[in-house]
Structure formats: C-alpha cells, structure tokens
C-alpha cells in the first residue's frame, strides 16, 4: 500500500507530531514537531539539559564545543535519515536554521 500523501498524527509520550509520508520517506511538516524532536536529541545526546529549546538559540554559544556540535549533527542525521555536507552543516547557526535545513532535506 502506498503511503504517499498521507498526513498522520503520531504520539510519543506527551508529544504529538504531524508527519506526512511521500515515496516511503518521512517528511516533517510541523516546526514544533521538529523542535520537540531536537529537544529530545539535545537532552539525550549532548551535555546540554535544556527545559525548552528556543529557535533563537545560537548553537555555537550554547556551550557545546566543535566536536560536540559535529556529534549533534550526526545524531540529527541518523534520526532524520539524511547527511549534511560540510557547507550545509556550517550554514546552520541557530536552532531555527537547523529546523529549516531539516525540513529542506526531508522534503521530497
């Protein structure tokens, strides 16, 4: 059965996410959904323990060193199923940039 074009509500714990599926790939369509997942990744995979991940957060000045930031990129790549080039990863400064990049990479 093709799942193209479906839009579904997924729940994980207390969080609800909207996803769409196209060509067998997961497309994230909801900024808040991405933000929530990023929050989980940041809290589980980095030393940062943030109550709320703000889109305006500057990732370079967040307290993560350059190695930790590359590790965060890897976790995000593994989670969302894509790989960023060096220039794509370097073009991201804030959490908002990161959300835009994730949406762009997972679209189509």
């Amino acid at each position: 059965m093709s799942d193209t074009g479906r839009r579904v509500l997924l729940t994980h714990g207390k969080n609800c996410y909207y996803f769409a599926f196209a060509q067998g790939r997961t497309i994230v369509v909801d900024d808040q959904a991405v933000l929530d997942q990023l929050q989980t990744i940041v809290n589980e995979k980095t030393k940062l323990k943030l109550d709320k991940l703000e889109p305006s957060l500057n990732l370079e000045t967040s307290g993560l060193d350059s190695l930790a930031r590359i590790n965060l990129v890897m976790e995000i790549e593994d989670h969302f199923g894509f790989e960023l080039t060096d220039s794509e990863a370097a073009s991201i400064t804030t959490v908002a940039d990161l959300i835009s990049q994730i949406k762009a990479k997972t679209a189509g």
Binding site: K47, T61, S66, L67, R69, M74, T85, D86, A90, I92
Partner: protein, 642 residues
C-alpha cells in the same frame, strides 16, 4: 652523544643544503641529481610549485589523481593532477582578467577541498600569493571568518582577491571591503563548472626565494598571524621528508586534515603533489563523523602513507567498531606520521592493538615535530631507529638545565602494554632533523646549551625555515632575524633525537584549536573587571590533551555561592577552553626578573601541588547552563512575588 651532532650547536659546522638541479625523486628523472649537502657555494634551487604544476601538465599519468570524498555519492571522486593544474590555470586567467597583479594576496574561503586547491594553484600560476582561511565549523557562526577577511582585506598595498565558495555570499554581505575583488567559485568537482587552460596565464616564473603562499596560523582567538612560505621552503621540506624515511616513487597517501593547516596543506597535499603521489582527501568533519572511512579508504585504495595528530589515532581506536576493524587490510601501510600535538603512550598502544590484525604495527608509527614556521616537518623518527618514549622528572626542568630521565618505554607491544603510570612526564621521540634542518637549543639568554641532555628553547635554521611573519602595507613580510626561528618550545636532544618537553610560547592547543593565552587572559580579565596582569592561563599538563586549562587569578577575596552563580552565568561560552578558576593571593604568578609571566613555572607549581590558592571554581557548560537557569528562575520568581 650522537654519532653526527652537526646540527646540535651553532658553533659547529652547519650543513649547507642546496639544489644543484631538479631533485630526482621529485621529477622521477633518472638522470637528474638529488638534493646534495655541500660546503661549497650554494645555488638557488630552481624548483618551484609552478614547475611541479607544469610537470604534472606535461607528464600526465593515468593513476595520478586527487580524489575527494563525496558525501552524496559516498565515494571518492577523482580528478587527475594534470586536469587539476589545467583547472588552476583557468582560474589563474580569471584572476588576471579581474585585474589582479603579481604579488597580490588571494584569500581563499571554500568548504570544498577541490575548489580550495584549484584556487590555491590558480593563484600561484598567476603570480599571486594564496592564503587559505579556516572555514566555519558545523553549527558554528561565521564571525571568525568575517573577522579574518576584514583583517587581511585592508592589510596589503596591492588589491586583494577573495575567493568565496558559492552560497557563502549572504553570510558576508556588506562585510567585505569594496577594494577587495570577490571571485565566486562552485563547491563542486563537476568538470563543466571549471574552465580548462593548457598553460599558465602569465609568464610568471617564481624563484625558490619567492613567496609561494601565506600560511595562516590556526590560533582561534584574536591572533591574525600568518607565515610567509617560499617555493624553496616547500620543495626542500617535502623532499626532505621523502628522503628521511626513504620512500619510493610509488606511494599513495590519504588525509583528512584541514587545508588551512600546515599539516594538511604541506604535510599531505603538497607533499603528495610534489612527489607525484595520488592523494585521497577527506575533510575533518567527514573524519569526525565517520573515522572508519579514513581507514577504509586506506585499505581499499592501498594507501601507504597517512598523517594525523594524536587525536586522530586515539579517535579511531575508540570509535571504529570491531566489525569495521576486522574488515580492514592495512598491510599496505608503511608510514603513519603522528605529530602536531603531544603523543600519548595509551594512544599508540590502543591504536596499534585495535588494528594489529589488519596489518598495523608500532614500527609503522612515525612521530614527528614541526610547525608552520618550518613549513611543516622539522624532525621525524626514522624507520631504521625504533621509536621510544622517555620519562622525565618534571621538577628538574628548566632552560639550560640538565633533564633527569627516569625510564623509557619502547614502541613495542609488550613495553606499551605493561607501561606503568609515570610520576614525571612521558615524552615521545620527535626523531632526527630532516636533511638541511639545524636544531639549536638555547638557554634564557639565547646561548647554546652545553650539549646532549640539557634542555633549551628550540631554535631552527635551514632551508625549510619560512621567510618570516606576514606584515602589513609598510613591509609585506618581517623576516626571521638571520633566518633563525625561535620556536617557543623547550626540547632536549638524547642520542641524536629531539624530545619536546615543554611549551614556553603562550599557546594552548585543544582538539586541533590553538588558543592564544593572552587573548584568553584578556577575556577573563574583562569578565572579572581586573587587569590581565593579574591573570595567568595555563594547561596543567601539556602532554595530556584532556588535562585541565586553569586560570590563576591574583585576588584576595573569596566569592560566595551566589557570587559564583552570577559569575558562571556571565562566563563566556566560546573562545576559550577554560576548565577551572583559581583565586590566589597577590604575587602568586611566577614572573621573570623583568616582570613577564612564566606560565610554565605556574604549571610546575600546580603539578607539584605547591601553588597556593584559596578558592577553586569549576567551569563547564553544564555549570554555566545551570547558573543561567538558576538566575532566570530567581528572576521569574521575583516577578511572581512582585
């Protein structure tokens, strides 16, 4: 005493290395003579990087490629050196068409290694002086790059070029002075993106003493310093490395080191290019993400040479899976260079053990010492002489003073495996100086030390010593006085080999980043509202890359818990690797008679537990975040109450 201590002291006869004809091992010409040592009149080496480029264009070889790792296709994508040179000539023509003149500086800001090298060689072909900048890292800001561009854009008399990878424009809009000629290049190896020309755009024929490129030093904070490297420096160094370890004409190299760094640019790229070796190139980010790729590339492409700092080998030992390790065949590997930062017993032991079944052994590890100011390599451990670590008594260490040796650990499986933790410092050999390089050890007054076993500051002379530091409009380059380069490193010679035992210059190296101590001290001084004169920043152990970076602050008071929270909340979260603040009484910072801070004596006091302080505050991202949260909670609580 060494067998041949010619390079030990300035008072002894010096080797005079000159190039009488093209070096045979550089051009594979059986009729040509090699570098020769002579005490007669030196001749100017005729070889330049442009001659090497022309040689590649004239004598293309099918398997002589630069191959770059492509994230999208997950494979190495190759371009022949001959085509790379023709692309560079094409780019050189663009520079000329934009009105740029010979001796203009060409700043290069590209993520793509291929684009970087087309611009680099293109600038050389047009007579310009290339200068590669460090690029923003993953999830990082572009501030440092912007500052570098702004700094160097106004530095020179001649118009300056800036080569910018497409897509970066928006990050610098308005930040590049109008006087700078900006050229955009694609970040792709797609052949249709690059124009090809068969010959250089100008009749530029650089001599050995001419500038080849400016090497930025990688200091992360506030230090816009660059070294002027000549064509002769490069040729001398890359041939010196090849000769020292008796390499064949058929080696193959792989590297992930950054191209803005001397170890990546000279130690891998120019070394391979000049010696006609294929090079498989990854980026540091690609390596950090998947270190197994480096070793898989080595295995699958039958590479014989690789180079990395201690961090790289340690990282592979820790993070490459046993399954990936079992699939490797590294019997082809002959030389694994290791340098740029202190070498640890545990790294050699764990790396070799992990990949021993694949074909790695201790005898393939080649510890080396080098710095941008000596083009790259100064000394290197020779295959014929087994490498070893020596343990020194840290308390008995000073310029002009004999070192006290407390033990040795050979580079062999049993010795490394059974090595006991040492009370002093454990230092790997850095090998013997390469051909033509002279190492002089001097005391605090600049006098040569008495001989073997006496510590001194390492002073270098020889054909690999750079021309000098890049200056400004008034003087493009400030040459090293009498061609002597004071390294700021303390070393000792034992059995003809160099051991680096202390860092006198005030630079801290962490995870490949160089931090200028004075800049970190100023940052902390600004935070505390005091003078930088009352602050000393130092590593607690320069031989341990994980050791704490400590800030010793001369202030008599002790902060309360709430004051500590307040301080942590305001603590800068970038531009420093600080792990601990220590408050001491006045005059605790060790100083010279003229009042200069002696950071390495502070380190000795700390290590010997004789440093007096009355408060110690740990600095970490968690503590900072927690302090900020605590203050915010107090703020919101206050609002609620109000």
């Amino acid at each position: 005493m060494p067998n041949d201590p010619l390079w030990l002291s300035g008072s002894l006869p010096q080797l005079d290395v000159s190039l009488t004809t093209k070096p045979a091992h550089l051009f594979n010409d059986p009729g040509a003579s090699s570098y020769v040592n002579t005490t007669g009149n030196p001749t100017i080496p005729p070889a330049s990087l442009l001659e090497v480029m022309q040689d590649h264009a004239d004598r293309p070889a099918a398997d002589l490629n630069l191959a770059c790792w492509d994230t999208t296709t997950r494979s190495f994508v190759a371009v022949s050196y001959a085509k790379l040179v023709r692309q560079a000539y094409g780019f050189g023509q663009r520079l000329i068409d934009h009105g740029l003149q010979s001796q203009s500086v060409c700043m290069i800001a590209c993520h793509s290694p291929h684009s970087t090298l087309v611009a680099f060689y293109g600038a050389i072909s047009a007579g310009l002086i290339p200068m590669i900048f460090p690029m923003p890292k993953a999830l990082g800001s572009h501030d440092a790059l912007t500052q570098r561009i702004q700094h160097w854009s106004t530095r020179f008399q001649l118009p300056t070029a800036l080569v910018l990878e497409e897509g970066l424009d928006e990050k610098f809009h308005g930040d590049v002075p109008e006087s700078v000629e900006v050229l955009r290049v694609p970040g792709t190896m797609d052949e249709s993106s690059w124009s090809l020309i068969d010959t250089p755009a100008t009749n530029n024929t650089p001599l050995a003493d001419d500038f080849a490129f400016f090497q930025t030093t990688s200091s992360s904070t506030g230090d816009h310093k660059a070294v002027a490297i000549s064509h002769g420096n490069v040729i001398s160094n890359v041939t010196g490395i090849k000769t020292a370890v008796t390499m064949s004409d058929n080696e193959r190299m792989i590297s992930w080191l950054p191209l803005f760094h001397d170890m990546g640019l000279v130690g891998a790229v120019l070394f391979s290019f000049c010696n006609r070796y294929p090079l498989f190139l990854m980026t540091p980010v690609q390596f950090v993400k998947r270190p197994a790729l480096w070793l898989k590339g080595m295995s699958e492409h039958r590479c014989t040479i690789a180079t990395a700092p201690n961090f790289g080998y340690d990282y592979c030992a820790r993070l490459v899976s046993d399954k990936d390790a079992a699939a490797l065949d590294l019997h082809c590997v002959k030389h694994l260079f290791i340098g740029a930062e202190p070498i640890r017993v545990s790294t050699i032991q764990s790396f070799v053990e992990k990949f021993r079944d694949a074909g790695i052994s201790e005898s393939k590890m080649r510890p080396a010492y080098g710095l941008a100011e000596s083009t790259i390599i100064t000394s290197i451990s020779l295959p014929a002489k087994p490498a070893k670590f020596i343990c020194f008594n840290a308390e008995a260490m000073g310029l002009g003073e004999p070192v006290v040796e407390s033990g040795q650990i050979a580079y062999d499986a049993e010795a490394l495996r059974t090595a006991e933790p040492q009370a002093g410092i454990v230092v790997s050999t850095a090998g013997a100086p390469i051909e033509g390089m002279q190492v002089d050890l001097v005391d605090e007054n600049g006098n040569s030390v008495a001989g073997e076993g006496v510590a001194g500051e390492i002073v270098l002379t020889g054909p690999s010593v750079a021309i000098g530091y890049v200056g400004d409009k008034d003087q493009l380059v400030n040459p090293f006085e009498h061609g002597r380069m004071h390294t700021g490193d303390m070393g000792v010679l034992l059995e003809g080999e160099l051991y680096i035992i202390e860092r006198i210059k005030n630079i801290i190296i962490r995870s490949g980043e160089n931090y200028l101590v004075s800049a970190v001290e100023q940052k902390i001084a600004d935070l505390l509202g005091t003078s930088h004169e009352h602050i000393a920043v130092f590593e607690t152990d320069i031989h341990d890359p994980d050791s704490d970076i400590v800030v010793l602050v001369e202030r008599h008071d002790t902060l309360s818990d709430s004051e500590v929270t307040n301080l942590l909340a305001r603590f800068p979260q970038e531009g420093h690797p600080v792990k601990r603040l220590l408050f001491s009484r006045a005059r605790e910072i060790a100083r010279t008679t003229s009042g200069k801070k002696r950071h390495f004596y502070c380190r000795n006091l700390y290590r010997n537990k004789t440093l007096n302080f009355h408060q110690s505050i740990e600095i970490s991202p968690e503590k900072i975040v927690s302090a900020i949260a605590e203050l915010e909670a107090q703020g919101s609580s206050g609002k609620t109450e109000a």
